[in-house]
Symmetry: C2
Subunit: 212 residues, 2 copies
C-alpha cells in the first residue's frame, strides 16, 4: 500500500486529498509527470507538508489520479445501463457513451489514452464490464463470436483509438463517430447490420445531466 | 532538430549511434525512461561524452529509438506485401504479420504499446499504409466502409490492443489470434466471412527469415 486510507470522518482531509488528485489529473492531462511535488501542492492550494499525509510519493498520487478516472467511468457505465436486459444493448450503450466522453471529458480521455491499451485488460473500468456483456451476449446468441477476450481487445482497442482520432480532429462529430464505430463492432460480433444500426440509434441519457 | 544528422561516411560514428539507440530500446522496453544518461552509455558500451555528439538530450534519444522501431516496422510491411495487388490482401497480410510481431519482437511491441493509440495516426509505420490500403479497398469495392479514418482507428486500435492481450497471456498462440482478429476486421469492413477466412489462411512469408 503506497496510499494512505481516507479517513471518512474527516471532511477537510478528504477535501485535501481530492484537491491533490484533481491537480494531479491536470498535470497528467498535460503529460507533465516530471512536475515537482511543490508545484502540485501549490496548484491544489494545500501545504507541501500535507502531501505526505496522503501519498508516499508522486507516483502514488498519479496512480490514484488515474484509478479515480477509471473507477468513475466504470460507475458511470453501471448507472447508464441499469435496467437494460439485452447484453448487446448494454455493450452498445456503454461504447456509444464512452466514445462521446472522449470529447466531453477530454482531459480524462487524454490521461487514459496515455495509459494505453493495457488498461483494456484491467480489472476496473469499462474492460471487465464489456467482457461481461460480450460473454452474456454470446451465451444469449446475440453475438456469434468464439473468443470473448479477442472480441474485448478488438472493441476496447477501437474505442480507445477513437479518442486519439477525436482529439486529432476537433471538428469531427463525436456522437456520430461513436455510433458508427459501435455499429461496426456489433456487426463484427455477428449482428445483422440493420439491427446494429437500430440499436445504435436508440436514445441515450443526456451526458451533461449524468456528469453534473 | 534535436537530433544530429548521421554522417554516413563515418562507420564508427554510426555504430555508436546504433549502440545508443539499442540501449535506449532496452530501457524503453523496461519502462525505465528515468534512467541516467550515464547508465545508457554504459549499457551501450560508449563513453558518456560521445552521447552529446549524437543527441542533445535523453528525450531526443528515446524519441529516435521509438521512431526507429516504427520505421523498421513500416519498411518490413512494405517488403512483405510487395507485389500483392488486392488491397484487401495487403491489409490482411500486414495485420496478420503485425499480430505475430507482438510475440516475435516483444520488446519493440511493449515500447509501441506504451506509445499508445496516438501512433495509429502517425505519418509513419503501419498507420498510413493501412489507411492507404483501406481507401484502395474501398475504391475497388472490396470494403464497403464509409469512413476510412474510422476504419483505420478500429483496426489500428484492435491490433495494438492484441499486443496487450498477447503479453498478458504468454501461452496464447499469436498466429491464430492475429488471423482471427484480422478475419473479424475484414468482416467489419463488409467482406463475406468465408472470403475473409480464406484470405487470412493464405501462406505468409517466414518471419524468422524476414527478421534475420
Amino acid at each position: 500500500m503506497n496510499e494512505h486510507p481516507v479517513t471518512r470522518l474527516d471532511p477537510r482531509r478528504a477535501r485535501t486529498r481530492a484537491a491533490l488528485i484533481s491537480a494531479a489529473q491536470t498535470f497528467l492531462a498535460e503529460d507533465r509527470t516530471a512536475v515537482p511535488i511543490l508545484e502540485i501542492t501549490e496548484k491544489a492550494g494545500v501545504g507541501l507538508g500535507s502531501f505526505y499525509n496522503h501519498f508516499d510519493s508522486k507516483e502514488a498520487l498519479f496512480e490514484a489520479a488515474v484509478e479515480e478516472i477509471i473507477e468513475n467511468h466504470g460507475d458511470l457505465m453501471d448507472r447508464v445501463t441499469e435496467g437494460i436486459e439485452d447484453p448487446a444493448e448494454v455493450f452498445a450503450r456503454a461504447f456509444r457513451l464512452t466514445g462521446r466522453l472522449h470529447r466531453e471529458l477530454a482531459g480524462a480521455s487524454q490521461i487514459l489514452l496515455r495509459r494505453g491499451s493495457e488498461m483494456i485488460l484491467s480489472d476496473r473500468g469499462l474492460g471487465p464490464r464489456a467482457l461481461r456483456d460480450i460473454k452474456a451476449a454470446q451465451v444469449a446468441g446475440r453475438f456469434t463470436i468464439t473468443d470473448p477476450e479477442l472480441a474485448l481487445v478488438a472493441a476496447g482497442g477501437a474505442i480507445l483509438a477513437l479518442g486519439a482520432l477525436l482529439h486529432r480532429e476537433p471538428n469531427r462529430d463525436a456522437a456520430s463517430a461513436a455510433d458508427a464505430l459501435t455499429t461496426d463492432l456489433l456487426c463484427m460480433f455477428g449482428m445483422d447490420v440493420v439491427e446494429a444500426q437500430e440499436i445504435c440509434s436508440r436514445p441515450l441519457p443526456a451526458l451533461d445531466e449524468l456528469l453534473a
